[in-house]
């Protein structure tokens, strides 16, 4: 978590590769939810459109799995990733 007014966004596995992005930061906005952030990223076009629902995307906020309606706070770490396949 950073102390300023940004939110850190991380991507893993297939998403990290296909978006060619491991991490980025966005400005925190009031009432921004994880789901709305996902939609705004999908609107970037290109490979980002897959975030709009073509594949299941799991969400963690501050390293805890959560749902799209979770409201984000400045300094939060949000992660988007495909369903896990460990073990």
């Amino acid at each position: 978590m950073s102390a300023d007014n940004t939110i850190t966004v991380k991507f893993f596995a297939r998403l990290r590769e296909e978006l060619d992005t491991a991490s980025l930061t966005v400005e925190a906005e009031s009432d921004l939810t994880a789901g709305k952030l996902l939609q705004s990223l999908a609107a970037r076009g290109g490979s980002w459109t897959q975030l709009a629902g073509a594949h299941p995307v799991m969400i963690a906020v501050n390293q805890v799995m959560t749902k799209p309606d979770t409201v984000l706070q400045p300094g939060d770490e949000v992660a988007f990733f495909p369903p896990v396949t460990g073990g």
Binding site: K10, F12, A13, R14, R16, A60, Q63, V64, M65, A79, F81, P82, P83, V84, T85, G86, G87
Partner: protein, 148 residues
């Protein structure tokens, strides 16, 4: 004891640590997973394991805590490897010691099942010069939901 590491592990050392972990231990159940062809692709030669550092350890700690709340767990040890692994290599270890046989089995299997569906690890299968992210299997979700 939870470890996420690139290096291989020795189940014998983990067993000794479980056995030495305290009095009243009557039962030690262990599970070791090895890299095998998932069946999604032919000719798989190895895996690459990615994870979410920090979150991984937290999730596994939560699973061990949950198991300890449901069953008698004297000690649990979980190791998950990351990075490049060849076919046949050890990938995951879960060991539980308990006063009771049924508790040792249940806690070990619960942790292993939940690990597959809720810990942030992702497998990529390597086949010669191509690679392919493994998709989550419905069967794994079903097995984990059966504990709820």
């Amino acid at each position: 004891m939870i470890r996420v590491q690139q290096e291989d592990f020795d189940p014998a050392e983990e067993y000794r640590a479980l056995r030495d972990s305290g009095s009243g231990t009557g039962a030690i159940a262990t599970f070791t997973g090895l890299v095998r062809d998932s069946g999604d692709l032919k000719g798989v030669t190895g895996l690459f394991l990615e994870h979410y550092p920090g979150m991984t350890e937290q999730v596994i700690e939560g699973l061990v805590r949950e198991a300890s709340g449901r069953w008698d767990v004297r000690e649990a040890r979980v190791i998950h490897r990351v990075g490049s692994l060849a076919l046949g290599e050890q990938i995951v270890f879960v060991g539980v010691c308990s006063a009771h046989r049924g508790d040792a089995f249940a806690a070990c299997e619960f942790i292993m099942d939940a690990l597959k569906t809720s810990a942030p690890f992702w497998k990529k299968e390597i086949t010669g010069d191509s690679e392919h992210w493994v998709e989550q299997k419905a069967a794994d979700l079903d097995r984990s939901q059966s504990w709820e």
